[in-house]
Amino acid sequence: MIVTHYNYWIAMVLMMIGLYVVMSHANLVKKLIGLNVFQVAVFLLYISLGKIENGTAPILDAAFTTYSHPLPHVLILTAIVVGVATTAVGLALAVRIHEAYGTISEDEALQRDQQERDAA
């Protein structure tokens, strides 16, 4: 089970590492890195679904009869684009937060808001 389905185990372990990084760090850039690890784990899950033993790239040729399944790969191409866009928006927000608060730590930013409220 563990040996034959090791691709699922790797995907799940990576997923949990990613989620843990997202939850445990206050640093916004580290959170985004965790988010990326988490997403990439799911990409791996999909890509390994399409792999067939001894299958080759899905380009029709008389010399081959077994091909890997291209559809999961195409789906993940879309998801990768989404992931890139999310990272870009997230980093842009982190830059803006740094401009507005002078920090990229979520905890410190919240503290500064609290101090502002207390002062008012």
Binding site: L35, L49, A79, V89, G90, L93, R96, I97, A100, Y101
Partner: protein
């Protein structure tokens, strides 16, 4: 042309977004958004007429036949939602003109309109598609544009709110992706109708149960279902007025619809309520949401935050209805989904007018609003009564339907919880009304209201909820047809 309406519904706002960016001038970008929203609304009405006349419409994108290509499906279950979302899109467009001048820098306002177009397109896409993976794509289109919309808020807190939503939203979206992947691995298809045929044979499979779990959690994050609501109060209250109208009115509702579609249209009620305890979990989450959301709303000191917490409570009613997993329960959930969308959009529109004229939505700044801005106060009062569920309001119609469904299932303690939540709604609405009606207003007069679109939007939405409250039978029939379609699809 008529045959292509299902795809035009999504493509029109999608194409309007780059057009907004190209024209750049704020007025021209607004005109593009308004035109796209108007066309969308017309398109949704035309689709509605077609569904009423001829049943389900199926549209194969690029002429690739289903189940191989992506299919758009318009049926009784999603046509009311298409009309609701595009109506709220039009309302946002009418509302946005003046509020954007006030809240967004002119140099950036075309980007704001472009994001609104994309957001509208994403929501309509989720509602119309019949392809499981396509839902993920549109969900991310709507989410990414929502992050940008929230980040354009006037205070720096908006940036943090957007970032937190981005983190939560991406985790939710990725969970949905895992669920879809597992479903695909099991069945080899992504077409929802095709999936619905193949899945009953797999009942009992653990990967299938995991798929349902991932999809449920992912969409619950997007719909801000308690206890996954942490991002929502900040996001709704920090977003610019026009964006919060659309976010609060349509955003969460579309995610709930997507869940209804997956749970009942794809996985089937048997798996959701009998083989797995998902429906029971939904009931618990719904009850907790209506009590805790409404209770926390009572302690808010900011009108928009109060409305946001009230949304968490009101989403609880919808989730409770779908947790019953009966036709009556689903119909009540659907009814409240539409009614609450209109009520909350109207209230956020009124809050936008308050923000424009007073420069603040803090409750202590609203003292004596009834004397200073009687019309806006009246709109807030009618919307508030609807949140409580006073007879002759839209909120009453859907809560009554939910109460009947609970009685039919003999869930007495849930009925008690629902009544308690309505009492809590009375408290938080009462607090707002007390501040606005009884406290002495400050001497300074509010700024002149130099807009036609904003009060027009707020009143159109409020009057619509009143009309639905006085005669809710038409909408109740639509909701019942939607529930029947969801439960019967593919079976």
């Amino acid at each position: 042309m008529i045959a292509h309406l299902p795809v035009l519904q999504v493509v029109m706002p999608l194409l309007a977004a780059p057009l907004c960016v190209l024209v750049r001038r704020p007025t021209a970008a607004w005109a593009v958004f308004l035109a796209a929203a108007t066309l969308c609304f017309g398109c949704a009405l035309a689709l509605w007429a077609q569904v009423q006349a001829g049943g389900t419409l199926r549209y194969a994108i690029g002429n690739w036949p289903a189940p191989f290509g992506i299919e758009y499906v318009v049926d009784a279950a999603n046509v009311p939602l298409l009309v609701l979302v595009s109506l709220l899109g039009l309302a946002t467009a009418l509302f946005a003109r003046r509020s954007v001048q006030d809240e967004i820098e002119p140099a950036r306002s075309y980007l704001y309109y472009a994001c609104l177009c994309l957001y509208l397109s994403g929501l309509l896409g989720i509602a119309i598609t019949g392809d499981a993976f396509n839902v993920f794509v549109f969900l991310e289109i709507s989410s990414l544009s929502a992050y940008a919309l929230i980040a354009l808020g006037r205070r720096r807190q908006a940036l943090l709110a957007a970032f937190r939503y981005l983190v939560m939203g991406t985790v939710g979206g990725t969970f949905l992706l895992i669920g879809i992947g597992l479903m695909y691995a099991l069945t080899g298809t992504l077409n929802m109708a095709d999936l619905a045929e193949r899945i009953p044979a797999l009942y009992g499979n653990r990967a299938l149960s995991a798929a349902l779990g991932f999809i449920a959690v992912g969409l619950a994050i997007k719909a801000a279902v308690f206890p996954l609501h942490a991002w929502q109060p900040d996001a709704y209250s920090e977003a610019p007025s026009a964006a919060s109208l659309l976010l609060a009115g349509a955003g969460a509702k579309v995610a709930i619809y997507a869940f209804l579609r997956y749970a009942f249209g794809v996985f089937g009620a048997e798996l959701v309520s009998e083989r797995l305890p998902l429906a029971q979990i939904a009931l618990l989450a719904g009850i907790a949401a209506m009590l805790i959301g409404s209770a926390v709303a009572c302690f808010q000191t900011d009108l928009k935050r109060l409305l946001a917490w009230s949304s968490i409570g009101q989403v609880g009613y919808i989730v409770t209805g779908l947790g019953l997993a009966t036709r009556q329960g689903l119909a009540a959930a659907y009814l409240h989904l539409v009614n609450h969308g209109l009520i909350k959009a109207g209230l956020f529109a009124a809050a936008g007018i308050v923000l424009l004229r007073l420069g603040s939505v803090r409750l202590d700044a609203l003292a004596g609003l009834a004397q200073r801005m009687p019309w806006t106060f009246a709109a807030i009062l009618i919307g508030g009564l609807s949140l409580i569920g006073v007879p002759l309001s839209a909120g009453f119609v859907s809560k009554w339907a939910l109460a009947q469904a609970l009685v039919a299932g003999q869930h007495w303690w849930m009925l008690a919880a629902m009544l308690a939540s309505s009492l809590l709604a009375l408290v938080y609405v009462g607090r707002v009304v007390e501040v606005m009606w009884f406290r002495t207003p400050p001497a300074a007069a509010p700024a002149e209201l130099t807009s036609v679109g904003m009060p027009l939007t707020a009143w159109a939405l409020v009057l619509l909820t009143l009309a639905l409250g006085i005669d809710g039978s038409g909408l109740a029939r639509l909701a019942d047809a939607a529930a029947a379609t969801l439960l019967g699809a593919g079976r």
